[in-house]
């Protein structure tokens, strides 16, 4: 069975802290994604990774960075958390291919920055 896991379901941090959100997939997928989900805005892509050590900015990369040292793990980093980064963060993975391949989502991490 397909599995994407995220390190925390709920996280509370203070303004200025460095925050790591971890995502692990067990499907040997090449592509991995980080989205944030906000009411009325839907899902917006922050960063994605085609493969190990490869990354590309999404639509809203400001204030975030990512790391992909191993194929199964994709980390989202908030260098200095701010209150406007309070949100639900969703990770997804996908097999590489020329035709369509489904994205599989993790359960999400609800981050609150105080």
């Amino acid at each position: 069975d397909v599995k994407v896991t995220q390190s925390s379901r709920y996280l509370v941090k203070r303004t200025g802290e460095k925050v790591f959100l971890e995502c692990v997939q067990d499907m040997d997928h090449e592509n991995m994604f980080w989205y944030r989900q906000d009411p009325g805005l839907g899902l917006r892509l922050i960063y994605f990774s085609y493969d190990v050590k490869m990354k590309e900015k999404g639509d809203i990369p400001e204030g975030y960075s990512v790391s992909r040292e191993k194929k199964e793990r994709f980390s989202l980093i908030l260098e200095s958390a701010s209150t406007n980064q309070t949100s639900m963060y969703l990770c997804a993975s996908r097999a590489l291919g020329e035709s369509y391949n489904e994205q599989f989502f993790g359960p999400g991490t609800r981050l609150t920055v105080l």
Binding site: G42, L90, R94, F105
Partner: protein
């Protein structure tokens, strides 16, 4: 670039009544179309997809969606809803080429009234 419009942010429906959730998209290239569902406190799951062929696609739990190219729409319908259909529904598109990226609508929260 692609964009997706879901005009209805919330749709309340009585149990066993029919429902339609509207989705319109804009794209300069050919796209794949999707509906994702997010049940309370869970990640996103693919509900159904249109890739090619028959413009009417169905899910295993009774939902269907019809691709209308002339109206650039992909509305989701169910003839009789159940309490268990309470969720948020997201319409999404990806281009045929460079199809690793999904563009999401802002979501429609479906509430079933007993």
């Amino acid at each position: 670039a692609q964009s997706v419009t879901q005009l209805d942010s919330q749709v309340p429906v009585f149990e066993e009544a029919p429902v339609e959730l509207r989705c319109n998209y804009s794209s300069s290239v050919s796209v794949y179309l999707f509906w994702y569902v997010q049940y309370p406190n869970q990640g996103l799951q693919l509900l159904l997809k249109y890739l090619s062929g028959s413009t009417l696609v169905e899910s295993i739990n009774g939902f269907e969606a019809e691709f209308n190219k002339s109206q650039t729409s992909f509305h989701l319908r169910k003839p009789s809803v159940h309490i268990s259909d309470t969720a948020e529904y997201f319409c999404a598109v990806s281009p045929w080429f460079g199809n690793e990226k999904l563009t999401f609508g802002t979501g429609t929260r479906l509430t079933i009234i007993p």
